[in-house]
Amino acid sequence: MLITQLKSKDAIASLAQGKTFVINCHGCKEVYFPEHQADELQKELAAEKDITEIMTRDYICNPDHLQLQLEKYMDKVKDADTVLVCSCGVGVQTVAKYLEEKRVFSGCDTYPLPGFQGVTPQALDCAQCGECYLNYTGGVCPITACSKSLVNGQCGGSKNGKCEVDKDMECGWERIYRKLEKLNKLDTLKHPTKVRDYKKPFDFSTKDGE
């Protein structure tokens, strides 16, 4: 089980640059999604920002389903500068993978809830770390795509774009770098040193949906 929690209004507003296409995922039976908060926040956002569409669906982590659902919106998607996804980390990565040329940002952080874990439908994964990194990394998750879960860049173990742990596995940081390069967003990597907060996933109960 997992909980997706909206990032703060300021954080989301700073992500919604230019024409913004919003995708909400009401999720699956494994996810709690803050529907009403998202609704309210997006209404406020629409008053200040250029929100061209808000599309709300479920199971956007299923690539075929996502493609089908986006079909009739593709003109607006193509026209958008930013695609803002409010879903768990798998959903954001699925959208980022499908819309390869787009700036895809996550509007949520994903936290674990004890209980039965749902089936991850594909190779993408979310570790429910509670401090989503996808906005720094072009929609490729460094926690699950890198064997060492490194958050400050590639280690010295990548050879021909593959990971030292498994020659069949792509280096996560190679993927992140190439994606940001393609988006002309390599400057995103020039952030202050990141130090992971392992207390985060256990902090959820102290939050009130801010």
Partner: protein
């Protein structure tokens, strides 16, 4: 003596790397270092469970070297310890008078002789540099104050100049410099032209870079490195050179010649040299003489 002070004076700094044994007797290691390295190199790196193979600790070995009058460089990886243990060991080093560090992420545990163990990576090379910088300013990485005088180190880091993704490596190098890296030692270089090209881009960071070399011992060894070791590529013409005279290669002469040649071609473009002899410490004096150092 911190390496940073030598770089500031404009010295071309030479270091070598050794690995502690898998056991508690270091008489042989001390003898090798005293015979072949002392006086010829400025400091000796001591690896931290290199290749994820469990051995005698780097810190204890560093202390033994220091007692012998051999300046050590304490290598610290993020693989085996969380941020509490890392900072604690680094403070311990300072207390023992060890003031040169090389801070790395570390190989994954699955590559070594304890593949079942838990890979830690609580910090990574960049956040570890940041942690040491914090300690130097009198607080730990969580912001808690240290008691008394804070430690002061030369904070070393690594980079792979001949990586097939050198742009990705340069981005990481920049992150390390921003976090506070004082100097760099590189992964082994066999292609001087690639190294020189790398240095053209790396010089913008204004941090000393030491050329890394590994003595090529045999055709089998270099083929293994080409297939398995990240950041290393031994070009075909060097493999041919090793194949040509089997006796000469076996005696180590070819490897010494190749290494000295690479150093000569690169040394004007960098600030120092780091020799990884991998057991061939006895060849280091010949290499340095042949390279004119």
């Amino acid at each position: 003596m911190r390496l940073t002070e030598l770089f500031e004076r404009g010295e071309f700094v030479v270091t070598a790397e050794v690995g502690p044994p898998k056991g508690i007797n270091i008489d042989h290691l001390i003898e090798e270092v005293n015979t072949y390295l002392k006086g010829r190199v400025t400091a000796v790196n001591v690896t931290d469970n290199q290749s994820s193979v469990m051995r005698l600790g780097s810190l204890a070995t560093c202390k033994a070297f220091k007692d012998e009058g051999i300046p050590p460089i304490f290598q610290v990886t993020c693989r085996d310890r969380n941020r509490i243990a890392l900072q604690s060991d680094i403070l311990s080093a300072a207390m023992l008078g060890i003031d040169n560090l090389l801070l790395l992420t570390g190989d994954h545990t699955t590559l070594g002789d304890h593949p079942q163990s838990k890979p830690v990576f609580d910090l990574d090379s960049v956040s570890l540099i940041h942690a040491v910088k914090q300690l130097e300013s009198g607080v730990d990485i969580a912001g808690n104050e240290l008691v008394g005088e804070p430690p002061k180190f030369a904070k070393g880091a690594v980079v792979s100049p001949c990586s097939d993704s050198v742009d990705v490596q340069l981005a990481k190098m920049e992150a390390k410099v921003k976090a506070g890296a004082d100097y760099f030692q590189t992964q082994a270089v066999y292609e001087p032209e690639k190294f020189i090209e790398f240095m053209e881009k790396a010089k913008q960071f204004g941090v000393p870079v030491m050329l890394g070399v590994v003595i090529p011992k045999s055709v089998g060894m270099v083929k293994f490195m080409n297939a398995n070791v990240a950041g290393i590529h031994v070009p075909d013409h060097l493999i041919e050179e090793l194949k040509k005279d089997k006796e000469k290669t076996k005696a180590g002469i070819t490897g010494v010649e190749i290494t000295a040649r690479i150093i000569k071609e690169c040394k004007d473009y960098c600030d120092g040299l780091h020799i990884m002899a991998l057991g061939w410490e006895s060849k280091v004096p010949d290499i340095l003489t042949l390279a004119g150092l």
